[in-house]
Symmetry: D2
Subunit: 261 residues, 4 copies
């Protein structure tokens, strides 16, 4: 069964700005979806902010294996409820790939628990994305680095938790560096942040970027069934303890009572 992949985009710049629309006539989501569709192991669709429930009703998320997130100008327009819904689905096992300015999306900040802040400059300067972990599955098929003639500078410090692994680090013409590919796990869900991808440059038309995105979908995919009660904190009754024990001391909980939360 193919990996059910949804590419989410706020889709605002493309509608407001003719230059960006010229670069991405089908939207950034369209460009990414086309790139992913070249992989027959993926079943790809898109969703955008302006759709009902931002295109992410619970029923659809339940049938999504990996979600890709691109947002920038309209982070504040994403409903808190839907951001929390995505977070829950990640905990159950949905993979999530957060791109570029998505570092400040509600969903990424919820998952990281840290400021997710950085430094930036929009000057179309050269960006060189170095593969620092060539054996990571996300880097498969790449050369030593990806050369982007134009990138938005994102600079350290990047206020995210120490990752499981650092896959990419970017060099910028103006003098900065940035950890541009980082992996995390949250509950049963694999999370990958990948920073290249500004809306005013054709980054999502670059074949190496396509390779990274396809690899990342495969890496983020968790084939286990959704872990529906990952948020539950079940009581293990004394009589079901794996070792025979007898109750000692007193208690605030009545037998069978749910825990506090």
């Amino acid at each position: 069964m193919p990996i059910r992949t949804v590419v989410w985009n706020e889709n605002v710049h493309e509608r407001e700005n003719a230059d960006i629309r010229a670069l991405y006539p089908d939207g950034i989501h369209g460009a990414i979806a086309a790139a992913l569709s070249a992989d027959p192991a993926l079943s790809v669709s898109t969703a955008t902010l302006e759709q009902p429930e931002h295109g992410l009703p619970q029923s659809r998320l339940d049938e999504t294996d990996v979600l890709i997130w691109w947002g920038h100008k309209a982070h504040g327009s994403v409903s808190d409820e839907i951001a929390a819904r995505v977070q829950r689905r990640v905990a159950e096992g949905m993979g999530l790939i957060v791109l570029h300015s998505g570092h400040f999306s509600k969903i990424f900040k919820l998952l990281m628990g840290s400021p997710c802040s950085l430094r930036w400059r929009e000057a179309g300067e050269k960006e060189r994305v170095w593969v620092i972990n060539p054996s990571h599955p996300i880097a498969r098929g790449l050369g030593p680095c990806i050369e982007l003639p134009n990138g938005e500078m994102y600079g350290e410090p990047f206020l995210v938790p120490e990752p499981l692994e650092t896959v990419f680090i970017s060099w910028f013409e103006g003098g900065e560096v940035f950890r541009s590919g980082l992996t995390y796990r949250r509950g049963a869900g694999n999370v990958f942040y990948f920073s290249p991808g500004h809306e005013t440059y054709p980054i999502y038309h670059h074949p190496d970027i396509h390779t990274v995105l396809r690899n990342a979908v495969h890496w983020a995919y968790n084939p286990a069934p959704a872990w529906k009660d990952v948020h539950a904190a079940p009581n293990v009754p004394v009589e079901q303890a794996r070792e025979k024990i007898t109750v000692k001391g007193f208690s605030v909980h009545k037998p069978g009572e749910a825990g506090y939360r």
Copy 2:
């Protein structure tokens, strides 16, 4: 200057339940504060849920180096605003020590970004807290393990991100194990989760637990001045780039404009 330490407690069980009050006549916060006060390098005070702003107005948090958090029955009564305020202050550099049932507190869930769920049993069974990283500063002065005659069982899987380091793992009489001491960094703030500490047992009167708590305050303390703009994403203008560059391509941001968030 001493480390300004605030012990926060919801202080509900102690008022509602005479048995718990008998164990902790000054409240769990009082017991912990007394234990910490034995260390002359610490300046210790307490705060509780029922106080205005839960005892945590911004002005007080700004003068707090390390906050200790005990909550259980009343997680839902903590205001979202104050939980977010504590999260911001952690990002600026305040240390945070989350105890026991605080695994389901708003502040811990905000910082972890994951379910923070676990299994549990309140049977007063024996708990043995093994020091698995004896060289970690939080384990200083301890023997190979801490023997607790009565503990609430917390069992794996514990749905938290992979920690920086695992310091303690607990063995339970009923057959479970639990990672009982875990370290994290969020922004400039050090975070330590320590699971022993149920309200119906005298755990906070145990000298080894006192040692852990004192060590943890020292470990969590970040002597750097508060990082007030840790959430900011400052633009680095082209003319201030460390390498001379000229703008290429087009732009969605006007010069000097703030980024989107």
Copy 3:
């Protein structure tokens, strides 16, 4: 193409001790190889200490994707040269699964760089292997824990580096805990340590242990071609720098000279 898997065993206990031979008439390597062979995606063979070059000539290692290592009594009989050869091959991308008493094997100590010491007791006590990271590929298909009626106790502290991820933690009847499943990466090679497996108990006949071993082979497998020059430190000549630079300062190296090592 199937994953070429070699099960290595020192094969001493089975020959010296009739009780162990009765448990493992085909040797521990034979039992493991039989279990792995149930997976059609694996192509399994065995190697033992007494063979020429311990059954691990360079040509065979070059055609091995994943190596499984069981050793105990004869760690000292493994040649330093062959241990170093295996270490080099791991760096190039061969997966390595180190079992039980292999914690003190030359190859594991070489890869960890730390003492790899632990506490132990051979009393046939109950061991319960808890899955603490149920979403990790190595835990796929398991329930909450593996119950072993008899295990050799291995106790913390276990002197290994902090792992990429902790997958399993064991509970022992005698009161100890142990991190029984740990992942690492060394160069291009994935390394998994799994502690259950004492020679005097039928642990390698347990279906859940078979599941772990099969999963671990799949996890450890790196499909990339061997990284033959992973140990090289190539000079990048000035004229091949990705940015045009001119030499400044003086030099200890002549142009084209190899670096020191």
Copy 4:
């Protein structure tokens, strides 16, 4: 009591090359020792390759809290026995700071267990060392980056294990990036690798580099007494088990017998 710090240097370039001697008339070790001596909390001495036992007899290592290592041309002249001795002392709790070309030293390779390879270019190009973890104690007192007018390029991939934390990442004029500050723990010993420091540039005269080195000594210092038996794997006899158990099954070890290694 001050932190007993030993600065070790192979001290070959300074004797063979007049230009280097002019930069470091007291040797690289002398320059570093002078910088550290500005901190009254440190008690600093030096050791060099040509001394008996490379200046590192066991008795001296036993009284060393933190060792700093600079080597390049003469890695092969360091005796295997002394490298192993240093590795053992690190496991017991001695801090170790490995500088620059020390990435290929015997001691660093022993501790990492991985190739420790990288790319390099000696062109005196500009290096900018970015502080990516400003809250780490090793970065205390630094600005956003350290500007080095001339550095030897070290480029990724750098074949070391994923660190506990990445503290610095360097930008190079010629287009590369490098993780220039990485922390590890091996046994009871804290290990820091810091890449700036080529012998043909005055890097060890830079005040920010002095700050890093002083901070690193404080960070690496483990105040606990030396863990003398960190390599031991003690048997825990059945009668001393913390839970009462009786022996089941058969055994390969006689009571009281040492384990195999």
